[in-house]
Subunit: 283 residues, 2 copies
DNA sequence: CGTGATTTTGAAGCATTTCAACTCTGGTGG
DNA sequence: CCACCAGAGTTGAAATGCTTCAAAATCACG
């Protein structure tokens, strides 16, 4: 998901003309005379940047509130450890204290795909709530520590302490938004831009956590990245090569998984440009 | 997503019960703007149940619990009404009492995509929680009625009545799962199968609500469906034509938006087959 | 310092998009 | 009543971008 006041956000408001901003909050969307309003006519004018309000670092609040108000255990993991598997009974949630995990979705017929990446302060296990069984598998990409929180304990704590509930809802909602943004990327961006966007998201997750954004170690194979992005590993490799050739990214000598981003806004400009080339404007 | 029991899939399917049959004769025919329903049409055509657990109908619980425990207003909408717009301040959630809505995600640079479809009993507005501004626009696809629920009122009610909190978490989690499944479809299914999957999901949403699944009126243009699925409108049209040619679906004389699904399992078999042709097996 | 896994790169194949023409429907006005 | 028009949908042919297949280069681990 997008954060808040990052270079990318700026682009958002300054984007195509039809999304020019208006003073927010003054538009009555309740039913009036819609005869005059064709869908297009409104699209042309609304839409201030989303998330323009606060950079809200929920990861910090999640950890702080859980530490204060909820009983939890600790679990150390190493790369490739399975935290839980799709189909297992759900009873506990996990909060990433440090490390990095991926959530892998699995279809009944065996198709699978990494559905999300979870950095420090993010929750794993929401997928199990409605059915009582996990709908994804969670796998560590790096060594780290998780806090384990029983779901019923969390519910009790939430009832007692409203802020806990707030933060859980916010965290879940943020995951939802992140997923929708991923969906949007997949359906609107070409391969190169999708890879660029992937790196940008990663960098922004690091930025939110106060980490340096100019160096990323993607703890995945090209194949993993490809599955995550809906591309083949060859396409990912080619895309990275092209990004490097454009100077938008650089490979570290250490290895092809260490990627430098000399200039974040150059990266988001790259995405910007490729979308303009693609969609000269809908309608 | 598709169903059917392959060995790998037993894990997930055993618990989710998203495809379970409904008990005969219990169909809610009261309020809906859907096609008129004759319970007879449901007999013998439902998708076989996957697991042993019940088909948890959260839509029903959401409505019941809100009605009992939360203060809410009512708002009537007609097709193409905007319920809220991306960027507006978030303060209230909406629960679909009847009708059908779409959530449209919008990127800073103007790219947009329908991110979800919400049937009766589903919630709109979760996208606004973390930032305080809506991250999507919600638009009615048909006339209907929404219950409007102030977020702070909902939080208070949740603190008092644990079941309210449970159902909200479950609803949000279900949306998350749905989005992840959409992502999976987009990255693993070819165009025809993706369209087939779309229809299957729709039918299952109807089935969960006790409505007939053999006739669907997709209240969208081909272009909308295409945006939702990451395809062009021409591709959607061609895919539908091919599905009809295979006999997996039929067009009603009424119009090209009325689609009959004579046999749901044939539809999911179609998806199955096309994935087998594609991915010989990962790993 | 090999051996297997990962990554890169090339060339051919193919699915989807793009561009374009045409049909069908519903609504409007002469 | 019919002509006309705009929007939605279908279909074909060409273009394009990603995948597939294949081979070589590089990395990683014992």
């Amino acid at each position: 998901m997008s954060l808040s006041a990052t270079p990318q956000k700026v682009l958002k408001s300054s984007g195509t003309a039809r999304y020019a901003t208006l003073p927010a909050g003054r538009y009555d969307t309740r039913d009036h005379d819609y005869a005059a309003l064709t869908p297009r006519s409104l699209e042309g004018r609304m839409v201030p940047a989303k998330g323009s309000s606060a950079p809200r670092s929920f990861w910090r609040e999640s950890l702080a509130l859980v530490e204060q108000h909820v009983a939890f255990g600790r679990r150390k993991v190493r790369a490739d450890d399975r935290i839980y598997l799709c189909g297992e009974a759900f009873e506990t949630l996990y909060l990433v204290n440090w490390g990095l995990c991926k959530l892998v979705n699995l279809a009944p017929d065996g198709r699978e795909q990494p559905a999300d990446l979870c950095f420090k302060g993010e929750w794993l296990g929401f997928d199990g709530i409605p059915s009582g069984r996990h709908g994804c598998s969670a796998i560590a990409l790096d060594c780290g520590e998780l806090w384990t929180i029983r779901y019923d304990a969390l519910l009790q704590a939430s009832a007692k302490e409203p802020m806990v509930m707030r933060v859980v809802l916010a965290a879940m909602s943020a995951q939802l938004t992140r997923n929708r943004d991923a969906l949007l990327s997949m359906s609107t961006l070409a391969a190169d831009a999708r890879v660029a966007d992937f790196l940008l998201q990663w960098a922004q997750s690091l930025a939110e956590r106060g980490l340096r954004t100019d160096q990323i170690n993607v703890q995945m194979t090209r194949a993993d990245m490809g599955h995550y992005l809906g591309l083949t590993l060859e396409s990912v490799s080619r895309a990275l090569s092209r990004l490097a050739r454009c100077g938008v990214i650089e490979f570290n000598e250490k290895g092809r998984r260490d990627i430098s981003i000399p200039n974040l806004s150059a990266l988001s400009e790259f995405i910007q440009n490729s979308t303009e080339a693609r969609s000269p404007v809908l309608h």
